[in-house]
């Protein structure tokens, strides 16, 4: 513990947090508390009499024995793990390419990050156009080089197609983070290795990659957190179908709540996926923020 005399302290700064705390209460804590209560009731919107009927843990039992629920967990995990793995590779390749010095690099890099700012719902929409089995561009490309057409949105392929779409959208994020990481690379070590006769690939493999590992981990952690709640793109592309083939946790909850209008059940689902997500992401967030809470001088006292 460091001990140093502190200048006069004006605790009025604490008041500055009040609006933020109020917003968090209103939109995070109150809804969670409400759904905790609803989750033990049998409330179905279409049957008003069921509103305050306490059924205790029936809803939870209902969800946890629902094969569709477990299928959504599986879909979400496959989507997240496969997506993050492929995006790491693609992002690494892109970062190594965009590290080169060439004319117009700034503009080209900006173009490259457009997929991540384009409205995700719109992304899902135009991938549907591309995946069209008969008229889509991808099947045209495949068949014109002699390969068979792929039923992109059929139950066997839909999840793969959703993952490809996500890789397209999110690889630039990995590229950006890795490019930032490359800026801090030890240039002298690279220089020395080159003088000692190391090839470009050896430099990349023995120096650059190990240096990038923490950056890769950070990008992957962020992306994994977002992937776990994926909704927009998949809603627009497949609506979770065919069947449950691409129903992520969020889409499962959506179907229960806004197609079935079963408030009790969706409240139980909400709590289950909230807890599941927190179990996975809390360590990730703690990892991401590790060491940074202490601050490094600056305004901090």
């Amino acid at each position: 513990m460091r001990f140093r005399p502190r200048p006069r302290r004006d605790s009025s700064a604490i008041l500055f947090v009040v609006p933020a705390v109020f917003a968090a209460l209103l939109v995070l804590i109150v809804p969670l508390a409400m759904s905790a209560y609803y989750s033990i009731t049998g409330w179905k919107i279409l049957q008003p009499a069921t509103r305050n009927k306490i059924v205790w843990l029936d809803n939870y039992a209902l969800v946890l024995t629902d094969p569709a629920f477990w299928s959504s967990i599986k879909v979400t995990l496959i989507y997240t793990v496969a997506g993050v793995a492929l995006e790491s590779l693609a992002g690494l390749a892109l970062a190594l390419l965009f590290r080169q010095n060439f004319v117009g690099r700034g503009v080209l890099r900006t173009l490259m990050i457009l997929p991540m700012v384009i409205t995700p719902a719109v992304v899902g929409m135009f991938w549907k156009l591309l995946y069209d089995p008969n008229y889509g561009l991808y099947n045209f490309a495949l068949t014109s080089i002699g390969l068979p057409a792929v039923p992109w949105l059929s139950s066997t392929w839909a999840l793969t197609s959703v993952i490809i779409m996500d890789v397209w959208e999110s690889s630039p994020f990995f590229m950006l983070v890795l490019l930032a990481g490359l800026q801090t690379e030890d240039k002298e070590a690279v220089e020395a290795a080159r003088i000692d006769g190391a090839s470009s690939w050896q430099v990349v493999y023995y120096l650059t990659l190990p240096h990038l590992v923490p950056y890769l981990a950070i990008a992957a952690a962020f992306r994994a957190i977002w992937s776990l709640s994926e909704f927009d793109k998949v809603y627009m592309l497949t609506l979770g179908g065919p069947g449950d083939a691409t129903t992520t946790m969020s889409l499962y909850a959506f179907k229960v709540g806004f197609v079935g209008f079963d408030i009790g059940k969706i409240s139980a689902v909400s709590w289950i996926i909230a807890v599941l997500t927190l179990v996975v992401t809390a360590p990730l967030v703690a990892y991401l923020l590790r060491g940074r809470g202490a601050g490094s001088g600056g305004l901090r006292r």
Partner: protein, 267 residues
């Protein structure tokens, strides 16, 4: 020579990479028959039917306006709430960090888990399909990251500047508004660019909490899927108009956007 080859390779790569989006933009400007021609047509008759349909079949102008109103108010309020909060968290040591960590972790809960009770609250208070509910929800969802980012920029400021102002008798509020915030304005701006993109692209809350009067343009796209199928020229024209603002914005603000996107990761 090597540099030139590299440039050519990257230009080709970027062109191919963006082609999925380009294809949709092209579809907005041509007759559906041309979009679905096999083999695909490189040259086609330009048509503005899609754009005409968008505005004839729905009040798309209103929906775009709704998106803009909700986004601008959300960005302004988020930054007005986040900046003092971030400042306070930098100044009030440990408890603040724990609080921020809790909020950031709570923010990881998928939005869908919160939207049903929010819908019920909106229903009880008769606030469904209003700008207020959309703005409050958007602000609350963007706050944790905004606070986190602005806090990072405040941490970069030299401490003696603030201490000097404090010794001269300035209150915390004066230090914030006259010293800290002006010094960190680049970072605050970077954060608001980030919030803008998030707020404009928001889909799930608008899908559930709005119905007609305050529907955003993103959600309005769904109405172009009819029982006969999707009218691709119309929906593409609508989607083009929805995505154009963020793309233009991304270009103008690219320095800030890159800073925002990598800051959380690299700081």
């Amino acid at each position: 020579m090597r540099k030139f080859l590299c440039l050519v390779a990257v230009v080709v790569l970027v062109f191919v990479y963006l082609f999925p989006y380009t294809w949709m933009v092209l579809s907005a400007f041509r007759y559906p028959a041309d979009t679905f021609a096999i083999p695909p047509k490189l040259f086609f008759e330009i048509s503005f039917d899609g754009f005409r349909n968008v505005f004839r079949q729905s009040v798309f102008g209103l929906y775009l306006m709704n998106s803009l109103i909700i986004t601008l108010f959300s960005v302004a309020i988020t930054m007005l709430v986040a900046t003092p909060a971030a400042y306070a968290l930098v100044r009030i040591s440990r408890g603040g960090t724990a609080f921020l960590l809790t909020v950031l972790i709570a923010r990881m809960i998928p939005a869908i888990a919160l939207v049903v009770p929010i819908y019920i609250i909106g229903n009880l208070t008769r606030q469904l399909d209003t700008y207020q509910i959309m703005i409050v929800v958007t602000v609350a969802f963007n706050l944790p990251f905004a606070i986190w980012m602005v806090r990072g920029f405040f941490l970069d400021l030299p401490a003696n500047l603030v201490d000097a102002a404090r010794i001269d008798g300035a209150s915390e509020w004066q230090v914030l508004t006259q010293v800290a915030a002006p010094l960190a304005r680049g970072g605050i701006f970077a954060t608001s660019v980030f919030v803008f993109v998030g707020a404009w692209n928001e889909f799930l809350f608008a899908l559930i909490l709005t119905s007609g009067r305050t529907t955003t343009a993103t959600v309005a796209l769904l109405s172009f899927r009819t029982s006969q199928g999707i009218e691709w020229d119309t929906i593409s024209a609508g989607a083009f108009m929805v995505s154009l603002p963020v793309i233009v914005f991304a270009f103008i603000m690219q320095r800030y956007l890159v800073e925002g996107l990598t800051m959380g990761a690299v700081k």
